[in-house]
Amino acid sequence: MGASSRQARDHSERDDVARFPSWLVGITLALTFLTFALVAWAGYGGYHALESFWNRESRIRALHGMILRLDEVLTMSARMAAATGDLRWEQRYRRYAPQLDAAIAEAKALVPGSSSIAAIAGTDAANVKLVAMENSAFALVRAGHLNEAHAVLSSPAYETQKVLYSTGLDRVLKEQQKRLDGALVQAKQRVTLSLSASVALLLFSITTWIVVIGRLRGMQGELEHRITERTAELSATNVEMLAARNAAEKAAQTNARLARESALILNSATEGIMGIGLDNRPTFLNPAGARILGMTLNDLEGKTIHEAVHHSYADGTPWPEADCASTQAMRRSESVAIAVDTFWRRDGTSVPVEYSSTPMLDENGNQLGAVMMFRDVTERRAIEQLKSEFVSTVSHELRTPLTSIRGALGLLSSGLLGPIAEKGQRMLEIAVSNTDRLVRLINDILDLERIESGRVELARGPVDANAVMVHAVEGVQSMADQAGVRLLIVPATGALWGDSDRIIQTLTNLLGNAIKFSPPDTTVTLSGATRERDFVFSVADEGRGVPEQKLETIFERFSQVDASDSRDKGGSGLGLAICQSIVHAHGGRIWAERNDPAGSRFQFTIPLAVPSTVAPAAIESSASRTILVCQDDWSPNIVEVLEGRGFRVVMATSSAEVIARAANVRPDAIILDVNDSGNGRQIVEALKSTAETRNVPIVVATGQFPESYESYAAAVASWVRKPLKGDDLIHALDLLDAPSILVVEDDLDLARVMTTALQGHGIRTLHAVTGSEAVQHCRQHEPSLIVLDLVLPDMDGFAMVSALRESATLGRIPLLVYSALDVGIADQSRLRLGPTEFLTKSRGSLGDFEEHVVRLLETVTNRTEEGQHAA
């Protein structure tokens, strides 16, 4: 039975009891008291009446006796006096006479109406006559007449009076007795009546008591019935409860067993396990955790997990909880996994840990807290450190003997040490190529180890997706040409956030693989696309493809589709593993899939830059000078040399691209590879005819000087011979540091003569046709010297000088005014900038002009050096 229905019944029983007529009990009680009061009153009244009756009766009886005896005494005293003549009898008489009167008076008073009875009876009259006769008798005695006195007292009259008195007295007494008896009857009646009434009331109250008790007994019966019923119910419930208790005990035992098991598991776990409440405070810590942290749960009391063990960075500087991303993530009930972090022990020492935190949810998905598992990684880190040092050392130690071997073999196979037989030559070539392969392998192992150990941080920055694609394709172009494989770039735009060298390395690796496994006359396609928050690079080939079962494992170290690949294709077997490491280090994903209808497609993702971090300024603000290199046979050595010298290298592969990029990137110099088909001149002319690129120095690399060499002369800053060599390039680029002269001259033929002459002195020459172009150029690149013709198409020389004077720095540039006009003294002052000289064209020869320029430049250079010394 449910508790609620039982309760309802309790209510109804209480209502029944309440319905019992309490007024009946009240009345019964009142009646009972009244009865007792009446009985008491009647008893007391009866007793009182009877007592007074008995008192009066006994007094009257005493008085009657007293009256009779006193009457006798008086009569006798009188007769004795008469007989003896002794007067003392008279004295006695006189003494008792008042007593008799008093007794008679008292008797009369005791019984109402006695006096009237007495009067009727004539006793009083008789008494008066007797007293009178006795007084006369005493008088005769006193006179000595004893006989006479005797005669009086023995006279018939006296005797008559005496009888009258006695008879009357009897009658009075009898009457009094009768009256008293009446009073007694009255009293008896009164007592009987009150007693009867009391008995009646008593009976009534007894009756009511019987009724009440009967009623109560009925109720008691009912209650007893109910109690029986309830008892039965209770015993039934008790049985249920006992069953439930048994079940609960069993459950408790099971729980206890599970708890013991859980405790055993938690206690024997080698990882630290910590329970964390919703307030981020620890609620549980297993023994392993206590051991790792050197503290118990009590030590953590009242602190958040961050305050307790995560309060400082590894270097000991305080780490505010608000800055702690993992704590914040835990507060947001997110899962957290941290591979390397530092926890702090109670004694102030730190311990390197790996940890993860998972929210604890109840069945409704409400968060109860979190569970953090953590592990002391001191040993693992020591081992990693050891391993990485070992790899580094071993690779160095291997490289040292390889250097000798490679050098010796190289010299031998070169024939410089003497002729070698053809078979011997072949053997030496095998030795050289395998030594190279061994070196590559060692390099790759070291590279992979460094990336995976995280010891080499990625140099992250904004990366232009298209630029890295172009760069990578340039790197493998010659390899593709040798293999007869076409390379196709599908242009794509995307601003990425990553390490551009590493991304290029990945692309180069994938492209190299694709080329290696592509038969001639097929195409390898590099494309890219933005997908949500990532940029996806895709390298597709039409080669033999990767078997389905190898698509997953192909990224493992030394995994090859075919066991002979490594030997045949000259790879280290680590290329894809390195790619994977690089991509993972960027937070990206790499995978392979089959390409329709043939071949395979390798794809990987790199996160897109957060818009705010890729302000264009960030890309352009590279402090180093930028060289735009346009060549079709790519040599990594050139890039390495340029980058080693602090240049930033931008690559372009086609003439259209070089023109577009030059205008875009505004390089400090362009290295232009001119192939024999001879479109170099068009590129140079295009660059020179565009205002943005007109004065960018161009270094032309060529296998042979073009027939129209002369026509290039003015436009090209320097020449290098192919095949490209780093030193030639650097030498050519030294001109960037060389003094530059801006020739402002609208006569193109004269300008060409002047620039050619100056280039003969190793002077870099720039050319502007108009005054405004010259001013603009000066603002971009301050020249060391300006050679100025005064008559110009747009603004004349005077206007140009005054424009330059507005700037403090440009106003100090040395100036050679080389004009057909003679300039007067007055005009000369308007034309001065820095050190200024005037040369009239018609008067000075070309030699004079060269001399002036060189001298002016020398003063400038000396001045600069002096300034530096002074500084």
Binding site: T400, T403, S404, G407, G410, L411, L446, D447, G644, G726
Partner: protein
């Protein structure tokens, strides 16, 4: 143009020999060698070579220490130094460049192009 004179400082006898032979055969340069930093600085002082190839990892006196010693002597201060190293990582290379050398050439080097690499680094014609 007078023949270039080079000094190779490396603790490995074989490498010194290969480098010397390579530079002599390909360019006809005069090459002297030293097997350590102290011998190298002494030789540099007496010989005043046009350039020094300096190994980085050597016992006793390593490459950077030797470089400092060369930079502190007036007579050798201006001799261009090129590190020869088995460290091939870009980061290592940058660190070495910051010490004030003209270039870094990786080991193992190709004996046929070693001289060319030196020319490139030093901008020799």
């Amino acid at each position: 143009m007078p023949r270039k004179q080079l000094l190779v400082i490396d603790d490995e006898d074989d490498i010194r020999e290969v480098a010397k032979l390579s530079l002599q055969l390909t360019e006809g340069w005069t090459v002297m060698t030293a097997n350590g930093g102290s011998a190298g600085t002494a030789l540099a002082l007496s010989m005043e070579p046009d350039a020094i190839l300096l190994d980085v990892m050597m016992p006793d006196m390593d490459g950077p220490t030797t470089l400092r010693a060369l930079q502190q002597q007036g007579a050798t201060k201006s001799i261009p130094v090129i590190f020869l190293t088995a460290k091939v990582q870009a980061a290592d290379r940058r660190k070495l460049m910051q010490l004030g050398v003209r270039g870094v050439i990786a080991k193992p080097f190709d004996p046929l192009t070693l001289a060319q690499q030196i020319r490139t680094v030093l901008s020799w014609p």
